[in-house]
Symmetry: C2
Subunit: 291 residues, 2 copies
C-alpha cells in the first residue's frame, strides 16, 4: 500500500521519521507536527488564512536583525517564553529551592557589557531619574557569594533601550558588576519606566488585532551568575509602575516587585551628593548551587 | 487579584484577548496559544531548545526572498500545506463533487506567466525529454469549458525550476493556455523528473535531522480556472517516477497519477515531427461550479 493512500496525513508525516533520528529531536518534532495539525483541524484553517500565517511568519523573520529579535518578541507576547521559564524552574525545583525567581530574558540582552567598579553610575547623561541599587547575593543558606557577576540592563527613563535608538548609540545603561567579599553590590542607574515593546512590526500588528496594549511595567534586567551556582536571569519591577497587572510579556512575579524609595535632593548612602530627587531600590539575590 | 498571580499562564494569555477582537481571528489565535503551550508542556521544552527553535524560525524567515519561500517549504514538508488542502476540499465537498482533486501549490508558482497559443512548446531548449500534454476541461456533467485557463509550470528535465537557477533566468517552462471551444488544451513541455526540494537551507537541515530524503516525484503543476467555476490548483504526477510513495511534501493523490506514454522518434498527434523519443500524457480536468 503506497503511503499516499494513508487517510491520516498526520500519521503519514510521523511515519516518515527515521528510527535513527535523535530521540529528543524526534519527540519534539513529532509533537510539533501533531499539535500543528490539531490546530489546523480544530479551526478548520482556510487556505487564505494559512497564507496569511505564512506571510506573517515571514515578516517576523525578516524583521529580525542584529539588534531586533521579533521571534522572541512573538514568543514573549504569546506567553510562551514565560511558560518555558516556568517549566525550567519547575523541572529544577528541587535544585533551585530558595533561589530568587527567574523571568524572561527579553529581546534586548547584549553580551559583554562593560565591567565596571561597584558604585559606578551607568545612568549618567541618560533620560530618567537617578536610582541607587544595592543589595547582596547569597546562597540559599545566606552565605555571601563574593565576586558574583551582576549583569544589568534596562531602557532609559523614557523606556527606550540603546538597541532601539537611531544610528549606532553603542551600549547604554548596561554593565557588569562584581560583588565584594561580603557578596554586596551597589551601583547607580535610572528608575525604569513602563514602555511599549517594539510595536511597529508584525508582532505590534498582532497585538492590535488582539486588542492588547503593548506595554511592560518598568523593570531593570539582571543576570546574576557565579562559578558553582545556577545562573539566574530575572528582572526587578518597580512597585508603583502601571501595567504590573497586564505585562505584555507575562513576566511579572510578585517576588520580583521592588519598592523604589524616593528621596529629596541631598546625600546618598554612598556619600554622593545629588542636586535633584533620586530613588533607592534594595534587593538581595539568592542563587542555588549548580548541579 | 493581579493577573500575574494567575497560576495558568495559558489562561492569562487567553484572558488578555479583547472582546472586541475579530471573532475568527480570536478563535485562531486562541487555538495557536493553547496548542503552542500544550506542545511546550508536553515535551517539557528546555530554554536551550526554545532558543534553537527561535533561531531556526528566524533562519527560515531570512531564507525567504522574492523567489524562495522557505516558510511554505516548512509547511509543505511537515504536511501542513496538504492538510489545509484536504480541509478545504472536505469543507467544500458538496460543492466540489466530481471535480478533479487538488494538491499543494508549492513554493514555485509565479504569477502572470506568458499567455501562449495552444500547441506551443514551452520545453524548447530546456533539459529533458519532450512531452505532449493534451486533454479537456469540463464541468462535472461533462460539458466542455471553453476559454478556460490552464496555467502550467514545472522544473526542467533535471528537476530545476527557473526560480532556482543562477542569475536571472526569467520565466521558463511556464505558460497560460486557454481551452478551445470544445474545452480542449494541448501543449508541449518536458517530462518532469523527481527532484529534491531546496535543501540547502534550514528546512533541508530539518529533513536531515528527521532522517528524511528531500525528494518529490516528477510532476507538472497546473492551475485551472474559468469564470463561474471553482479554481483548481493541482499537479499531474508521472506514474513511473520514484518517490510516489514518499513525496517530501505529501502531495500525491492516486487520481493525479498519469501514465506518460513513450514514443519512438516520428510524428506526433499534432503533426510535429520529432527526431528523438518523446512522451505523451493525457488528462482531463473537471471543474466544479463556483458557489
Amino acid at each position: 500500500m503506497s503511503q499516499h493512500q494513508t487517510q491520516d496525513i498526520t500519521q503519514a508525516v510521523l511515519d516518515r521519521l527515521s528510527a535513527d533520528a535523535d530521540p529528543r529531536f524526534k519527540q519534539i518534532i513529532s509533537a510539533v507536527v501533531r499539535h500543528m495539525h490539531a490546530l489546523a483541524r480544530e479551526v478548520d484553517l482556510k487556505p487564505e488564512e494559512w497564507m496569511a500565517a505564512i506571510q506573517f511568519l515571514t515578516r517576523v523573520g525578516q524583521t529580525c536583525d542584529d539588534k531586533r529579535q521579533e521571534f522572541i518578541l512573538l514568543s514573549d507576547t504569546l506567553g510562551l517564553s514565560m511558560l518555558v521559564v516556568q517549566l525550567d524552574q519547575a523541572r529544577r525545583s528541587r535544585d533551585l529551592k530558595g533561589a530568587t525567581e527567574a523571568t524572561v530574558q527579553g529581546p534586548f540582552y547584549w553580551e559583554n557589557a562593560p565591567v565596571l567598579p561597584l558604585g559606578s553610575d551607568i545612568g549618567k547623561g541618560m533620560a530618567g531619574e537617578p536610582a541607587y541599587y544595592a543589595g547582596k547575593v547569597t546562597d540559599a543558606a545566606g552565605k555571601p557569594i563574593a565576586n558574583c557577576c551582576v549583569d544589568v540592563w534596562s531602557g532609559d527613563g523614557e523606556g527606550v533601550y540603546d538597541m532601539q535608538k537611531e544610528g549606532d548609540a553603542g551600549m547604554q545603561l548596561r554593565a557588569r558588576f562584581h560583588t565584594d567579599a561580603q557578596g554586596r553590590y551597589h551601583f547607580w542607574s535610572i528608575k525604569p519606566t513602563f514602555y511599549p515593546v517594539p510595536d511597529d512590526g508584525p508582532v505590534g500588528a498582532m497585538l492590535r488585532a488582539m486588542g492588547r496594549h503593548p506595554n511592560r511595567p518598568g523593570h531593570i534586567h539582571m543576570k546574576v551568575y557565579a562559578d558553582g551556582f545556577a545562573p539566574l536571569t530575572t528582572h526587578l519591577f518597580a512597585a508603583d509602575s502601571p501595567y504590573l497587572d497586564s505585562d505584555a510579556v507575562f513576566g511579572v512575579r510578585d517576588s520580583l516587585i521592588v519598592h523604589y524609595e524616593k528621596h529629596a535632593p541631598g546625600k546618598a548612602p554612598d556619600g554622593r551628593a545629588l542636586d535633584k530627587p533620586w530613588h533607592s531600590a534594595a534587593y538581595d539575590f539568592v542563587l542555588a548551587q549548580a548541579k
